[in-house]
């Protein structure tokens, strides 16, 4: 999901003053203090892996959003906004909001009442052990590898922005994460994610405020962007009628069906990294409200991510270039736009807060990866496949050790990427292979009672293999893009959209075909797992303004209005 790839420009963008350094150090002290304080509250499996299932809707919702709001995400999408204009907003609106609401209202009741510890755990209940094993093993390894890739990329960012040594950045951040997650488990990770949410807004909100002031308001900003780039840079939908009339080289069908219907659904409803936060909610109403709260704030994130990229187009004196060009010319790349805007408006203190927001974003993202890896390893791989007779205390200890091992594997991956930069591209591609087919398997499992164990397993396997096949086809024969993405003009992001769409369809077709050819599962075995055979619990007798459906309707209205306003 992160467009920030290679970073090869050895330049230093900002200089920290003593007060900035105090702010950064204070952040590290605070997160370690929170971990230390919570260490006494992570003694049972439910405490360590599920945060005691006692999070309120607000804590679970902000944590759910924060787990995705990493530093590379912020800098990468700000860079994408500079490169592609307001089109990048699709990844925050149609590429997130419908999926979050679908998770809240349709899927969450099943995750919650099945009392599963993880998404692979749900697959075990619905389709059996093979589906869980395939999903758990792929998720565990991809998550910890992604964590290492992000760690290296962030250390590189710190080198570019602050001039910090890469080894220093890797070890200080990873040891801090290892300490506070090992001590406090998921609760510690969630607390720090909520803290990070506030720091990101506190550190980044000034850029659009001061930027709009400098540009002379939104109307003047649009005129300046039209003058310096193109009028299509400020339109969400009007240029998507053709592959050639927008900066991204994508058609509206790719955005609606590839991104909105498949990729975002897959990511926000089945990626255990984010879903784990909702599973920690204290009751069904909180579990349904949490993604809706997350959706409400997600709609506002473009204000601190996309708008700075657009402002960079209008007010920065220099023209930013792609990474490959910047590496040769020594200039600044698209991905530098957020730190450049930070340095443009922020003096001593404010700069420290902005840098702290980036560090916090990276560390909480890593903590999210590590805590999800720990849970899946312990509950979905170690317990069913290696040692099923351990005590609860034994599994908590396994979780603590797995946290440390997970961090060390991440560090090892980071150093591997440092030696072989192309690994970064492969790992990020690998991660995307599993998302769309997994959504197909889970959603069919929840909505169609005729889906069988073999249908689910083979659908997931074939969908994943088809995704890998399409990626390899384009990799070795770039002209194949005209078939996979329906146009030779499609850019990398457009390819991802269509690859996800086809792999989802393969998964669904195979699941349906195999299910119809195999013996149906009994209704008794599916009770509590599938629509039509499950009494979906009510959120209780609460006033209208406390009902998830009411707030989902409000979010939907705002979402539609925003798309029309920026059409």
């Amino acid at each position: 999901m992160t467009p920030l790839l290679a970073l090869n420009v050895p330049a230093r963008l900002v200089h920290l003053s003593p007060v900035d350094i105090v702010i950064v150090v204070f952040y590290f002290v605070l997160v370690l203090s929170i971990g230390w304080y919570l260490k006494g509250r992570a003694n049972t499996g439910e405490d360590f892996f599920m945060a005691g299932r006692e999070m309120t809707a607000w804590v679970a919702g902000l944590s759910f959003l924060s787990a995705n709001l990493g530093a590379l995400e912020l800098m990468g999408w700000a860079g994408s906004a500079y490169q592609y204009g307001i089109l990048a907003t699709h990844w925050y609106w149609i590429g997130a909001i419908p999926a979050m609401l679908f998770l809240a209202l349709v899927m969450m009741p099943f995750y919650y009442i099945s009392k599963t510890h993880s998404v692979p755990g749900y697959l075990k209940l619905r389709f059996g052990e093979p589906s869980r094993a395939l999903s758990a093993v792929s998720f565990a390894f991809m998550t910890v590898l992604m964590s290492g890739v992000n760690m290296f990329a962030m250390a590189k960012v710190m080198q570019i922005v602050l001039g910090w040594d890469i080894n220093f950045s890797i070890w200080v951040s990873s040891l801090t994460v290892a300490i506070y997650v090992t001590l406090g488990g998921l609760r510690s990770a969630i607390f720090n994610e909520v803290l990070q949410f506030f720091l990101i807004w506190a550190g980044a909100l000034l850029i659009p405020i001061l930027g709009l002031y400098e540009a002379g308001g939104w109307t003047n900003l649009k005129l300046q962007i039209a003058h310096r780039a193109s009028e299509q840079y400020v339109h969400l939908w009007s240029g998507l009628g053709s592959f050639t009339t927008n900066p991204m080289g994508i058609h509206w069908t790719g955005i609606v069906f590839g991104l909105g219907a498949i990729i975002s659904m897959g990511y926000w409803t089945t990626d255990f990294l984010v879903v784990q936060r909702i599973l920690a909610a204290k009751d069904i109403r909180s579990a349904e409200m949490a993604p809706i709260i997350g959706a409400g704030f997600k709609m506002m994130v473009p204000f601190i991510v996309i708008l700075p990229g657009l402002l960079g187009l209008a007010v920065l004196p220099e023209k930013l270039v792609p990474e490959s060009v910047a590496a040769i010319t020594g200039g600044h790349s698209y991905n530098d736009v957020l730190p450049l805007m930070l340095a443009r408006y922020c003096g001593p203190g404010l700069l420290g807060l902005g840098v702290t927001a980036l560090i916090a974003g990276f560390m909480s993202g890593m903590a999210g990866n590590v805590s999800a890896f720990t849970t899946v390893w312990t509950y979905d791989i170690y317990r069913p496949l290696i040692n099923s007779k351990g005590s609860d205390h034994h599994y908590v200890n396994m979780g603590r050790w797995t946290t440390i091992v997970g961090v060390l594997i991440s560090v090892g991956t980071a150093y591997l990427v440092m030696q072989f930069a192309s690994i970064m591209d492969y790992v990020q591609a690998l991660f995307s292979f599993f998302i769309a087919p997994l959504f197909g398997t889970v959603v069919l499992g929840m909505l169609w009672k005729r889906a069988t164990g073999w249908g689910g397993f083979l659908g997931l396997l074939c969908g994943t293999l088809s995704s890998i096949g399409m990626w390899a086809w384009v990799k070795f024969d770039p002209s194949a893009l005209r078939y996979v993405a329906l146009s030779p003009h499609a850019k990398a992001l457009a390819q991802d959209m269509y690859q996800a769409l086809w792999s989802f369809l393969v998964c669904v077709v195979v699941t349906v075909a195999v299910s119809l050819a195999t013996e149906p599962m009994s209704d008794t075995a599916l009770k509590g797992l599938v629509y039509g055979l499950t009494d979906v619990p009510s959120v209780g007798d609460v006033p209208l303004y406390q009902k998830p459906l009411f707030w989902a309707a409000i979010v939907t209205v705002v979402f539609i209005a925003l798309n029309i306003v920026f059409w």
Partner: protein
């Protein structure tokens, strides 16, 4: 158990105080060559004050021992 909102209050209050102090210092002793655009708006002063205020409100409302 100490509320997460109390920790957030501490974070915002401390950061706000440091930013406000740095902003006031620059207000009294302006740098010779200010490189920050819109330096005349003294964002550090008012933004630091806003963060400090919100942080103190959170600290007070969610202080340990208070049922919030």
């Amino acid at each position: 158990m100490i509320s997460i909102w109390f920790f957030i209050g501490i974070s915002l209050a401390v950061n706000g105080a440091l930013i406000l102090a740095a902003g006031i210092y620059e207000l009294i002793y302006p740098p010779m060559n200010a490189t920050v655009v819109l330096f005349n708006l003294h964002a550090g002063v008012w933004w630091g004050a806003v963060l400090l205020l919100i942080g103190l409100l959170y600290c007070f409302k969610f202080a340990p021992g208070k049922s919030a």
